[in-house]
């Protein structure tokens, strides 16, 4: 039997109050907020963050032998985005990494593939949901990521009991490549297609697993067709308290990532031996049923979904949101355009650039970036790799840069002294420049520093420690 070894989720630091959209666009007042990926985040970088949370408990590297990455907003086409995840997570070279991109259903596809594999597989799903200004998708979408490490055997936090699927070809939601917003058919039609498909798939899954609706402790029903989701949730017939909050209020629907994100939110709180049913409506219906194990309470992700929401802020302006999404074009700084990273140096420094691995000299001195000649003892090539990705740091000094090129000026740069040695000077993100001071605590986060010539310059930045230091 297969199951889940560990899980993690990632919600960006910023949320946009729907009231801000309403007042700018003159649309009906919206309630709550939606999560917004920062200007330096994309599906890949958020996927890395969720994966780090998922792998946080696993000693001696992650053990992931495969990566399945799903998103509707792939930062690259042709080129494999999962390769960036693979590199950033420092996985073994012989691990398989592949994208499942384009359709919303690919999130379930990644998860089902991971559960069906004989190798330890990381299913990562991440999305940036965008609509045209003032539209429903913009209002109700959300940005986020989730990762589940699955295996055919091992110390599971949740056993996969089984599931079923139904597929059907109908026009519910579609988007032509290159467009920022999708189009949808009338909701009542979608509902009429989804509900019978769901009824059939759910009953087959229950039968296969040998449970009834009343055995379900947590029911997740999700999809981008809100009317159909509501109908299906009602039709399954679980106890009312078993229905899981779908986070529309404060996060919005994160599309591809949403099934795994909601599952993570349940794993954050579920007790051992509880049954979780996940029903996903996307070009068909997928049902997956899990049962939590005794191990779950000791293996929860470091910062739960609720805690991540609490550690975020909802004061993002609508104009800034539009700028970050590339919908509102603003005056560029009078500075040269950023230069794309070059392929050979990026490949040579893969461990540094993607996995933030420095070097430690035999005398103990840590070098960031890695150096062949020691700055203290001047020994040559007496170095071993030193992973600094999960090491926290303290701000030694900092600077606010209003002049340099930035997609969200001003750029903030900190000089970081890492716990246990090592210093690095890098950009800070998710930070309020006015509240910065020497001695502040920061942690590393994987970002898209900028994009030039279509090349995404992925690297690490520091952000104020989120959650417990």
């Amino acid at each position: 039997m297969s199951g889940i070894l560990s899980y993690g989720s990632y919600l960006p630091y910023r949320r946009l109050q729907r009231a801000h959209i309403a007042s700018a666009m003159g649309t009906p007042a919206g309630r709550g907020s939606r999560s917004v990926a920062s200007y330096d985040e994309d599906a890949t970088s958020m996927g890395v963050e969720a994966s780090r949370a998922a792998l946080a408990h696993l000693p001696g590297g992650s053990g992931a032998e495969q990566v399945f990455f799903s998103t509707t907003r792939p930062p690259y086409l042709d080129k494999t985005n999962a390769g960036v995840l693979h590199a950033a997570l420092g996985l073994d070279q012989d691990a398989f990494a592949v994208d499942m991109v384009g359709s919303v259903r690919s999130g379930v596809g990644a998860l089902k593939s991971a559960l069906a594999s004989s190798e330890a597989s990381l299913a990562v799903s991440a999305d940036i949901r965008t609509g045209l200004p003032g539209g429903v998708d913009e209002r109700d979408g959300g940005d986020g990521a989730a990762a589940l490490l699955c295996a055919a055997a091992g110390e599971f936090i949740a056993d996969y009991l089984g599931g079923d699927s139904a597929s059907a070809e109908f026009l519910d939601r579609w988007r032509v490549p290159g467009e920022i917003a999708s189009k949808v058919w009338e909701e009542r039609f979608g509902e009429s297609a989804y509900v019978p498909l769901a009824a059939a798939a759910v009953s087959r899954a229950f039968e296969q697993v040998g449970i009834t609706a009343t055995d379900i402790d947590h029911l997740i029903v999700t999809g981008l067709q809100a009317r159909a989701v509501r109908s299906v949730a009602k039709a399954v017939g679980v106890r009312p308290e078993a229905l899981v909050d779908d986070l529309t209020g404060v996060v919005g629907n994160t599309g591809t990532a949403h099934p795994a994100l909601l599952l993570a939110s349940v794993l954050d709180v579920a007790a051992p031996a509880e049954t979780i049913a996940v029903v996903v409506l996307a070009d068909g219906v997928d049902v997956m049923i899990f049962r939590t194990t005794e191990l779950l309470p000791s293996r929860r992700q470091p910062l739960g979904v609720r805690a991540q929401i609490e550690a975020s802020r909802d004061d993002l302006s609508y104009a800034k949101y539009l700028t970050w999404r590339g919908i509102l074009r603003t005056e560029p700084p009078r500075r040269p355009d950023p230069v794309p990273p070059a392929a050979p140096p990026s490949y040579r420094s893969e461990r540094w650039k993607y996995a933030f691995v420095g070097s430690r000299c035999s005398c103990g001195t840590v070098h960031l970036p890695p150096a062949r000649v020691c700055m203290r003892c001047h020994a040559v090539d007496q170095v071993s790799p030193e992973s600094m990705r999960e090491v926290k740091a303290t701000i030694a000094t900092y600077t606010i840069d209003h002049l340099t090129y930035s997609e969200s000026p001003p750029a903030v740069v900190g000089v970081l002294d890492f716990d246990g040695g090592g210093r690095f000077q890098c950009q800070l993100t998710d930070v309020d420049p006015d509240s910065l001071s020497i001695g502040d605590r920061v942690e590393m986060t994987f970002r898209n520093v900028y994009t030039a010539n279509g090349i995404h310059n992925y690297f690490w930045k520091a952000r104020p420690v989120r959650g417990q230091d």
Binding site: A342, P369, A396, Y398, D401, I438
Partner: protein, 396 residues
């Protein structure tokens, strides 16, 4: 291992310096011609008298042809070199060594930079293809990192530091008013400086040197030959240049309140020239005030003030034109702007005028006969530094 220096082995017999500014009607070639012709005239020489040339420029040209083409130099050695913002000084230093070695009788150092044609705010430069992991930080932001570190270490509050920076900008602008070659020749009120829009950290526009075009040149001969060309030559007492290992941004022991490279090159230069009390012995100093915070920190690195006290001395006017040690009496980078390849030689030009009593309205008359220039490239923790000392008399 030794740095012996070339005390009194070479002398400067001629210098030239163009006005610095937005020179829309001149290109780098014009500026090289203007500065070198002025230098030759002041040395009573013609171009044919010069045996070898050193051209300093960062981005305004490559190879010796950048100078040989406009100057129509027929088949003589012309070396183009670059050492970031210390490029002009580096051209001068190499020319001095060539003469001191006996290889040439007469050498010319010329520095030039044409920045305004680029159309950008602040300095720009090209870097080799790389992995994109080096943070793209503007020059003012790199230097602004000194401010919180200094304030934190010495317990100076933000407001006081801002006053210190403001005083430095105010002083250098004030000095520049009396300098016909300066780009900015207006006295600026302290409140205007203080209120100027922020560029990086606590540094406003008026805390930053401007973007400028310009050129300066010097002619160097053996000391014993100097009086053949020039009644009032200046003697090179010390030249020191160091490049740091660039470890500040990766070394937790570096505290961002000092330029260790400046301390090293300064110690070397003082040893070469026999300086023991710079504040007492020097008539004046031209220092690399790329940003106001830089000048404050340099006062300590150059030994003009004790550690943690420069801010007080600045506010007390110690480095004003009438202070105990005038710093940047020509207006500094602040008034001149900073055409990279020219700045080091522009600093030398002020010493040339001052020690020979030709500085006109801004003449310093404290009777001292030594002057210092300091030229910096790079950023805190990762810099190159040049210090030179000149005298109007050979040592006894």
């Amino acid at each position: 291992m030794a740095s012996r220096g070339i005390l009194d082995r070479v002398a400067i017999v001629g210098m030239g310096c163009t006005p610095f500014g937005e020179l829309w009607d001149k290109d780098a070639s014009d500026l090289i011609v203007d500065a070198s012709q002025e230098a030759l005239a002041s040395a009573n020489m013609t171009m044919g008298d010069v045996d070898a040339f050193w051209l300093g420029t960062m981005n305004s040209g490559t190879s010796g042809l950048t100078a040989s083409r406009p100057l129509k130099i027929d088949n003589k050695p012309v070396t183009r070199l670059e050492n970031m913002c210390a490029t002009g000084s580096e051209a001068f230093r190499n020319a001095c060594y060539a003469v001191a070695s006996g290889a040439y009788d007469v050498a010319m150092a010329v520095g030039v930079e044409k920045l305004k044609d680029g159309g950008f705010s602040g300095l720009t430069g090209s870097i080799p293809p790389n992995d994109g992991t080096f943070p793209d930080i503007s020059a003012p932001a790199l230097f602004a990192a000194l401010a919180p570190a200094y304030g934190n270490k010495y317990g100076v509050d933000d407001e006081t530091l801002k006053d210190v920076f403001t005083h430095i900008a105010w002083k250098n602008h004030r000095n520049g008013v009396k300098n016909p070659r300066a780009q900015f020749r207006k006295e600026v009120a302290k409140q205007t400086i203080k209120d100027s829009p922020l560029v990086a950290g606590p540094l406003g526009i008026f805390d930053c040197s401007g973007v400028s075009d310009g050129s300066a040149a010097a002619i160097i001969v053996r000391a014993e030959d100097a009086h053949r060309y020039q009644a009032k030559p200046l003697y090179v007492k010390a030249l020191s240049f160091v490049a740091g290992a660039g470890t500040g941004p990766m070394d937790p022991d570096y505290d961002y309140t000092s330029f260790t490279e400046v301390v090293a090159s300064c110690r070397d230069a003082y040893q070469q020239a026999g300086i023991t009390d710079p504040r007492e012995q020097l008539a004046m100093a031209e220092v690399h005030d790329c940003f106001t915070v830089t000048e404050m920190v340099l006062m300590e690195d150059l030994g003009f003030a004790d550690r943690g006290t420069a801010w007080k001395d600045v506010l007390a006017g110690a480095f004003d034109h009438n202070g105990t040690l005038p710093v940047n009496p020509d207006g500094g980078l602040k008034s001149f702007g900073h055409p990279i390849g020219a700045s080091g030689l522009r600093m030398l030009f002020e010493i040339w005028l001052q020690l020979r009593g030709e500085a006109g309205e801004r003449q310093i008359s404290n009777g001292k006969k030594l002057g210092l220039t300091h030229n910096l490239g790079g950023a805190p923790g990762s810099a190159v530094s040049f210090v030179s000392i000149w005298g109007s008399e050979p040592s006894a």
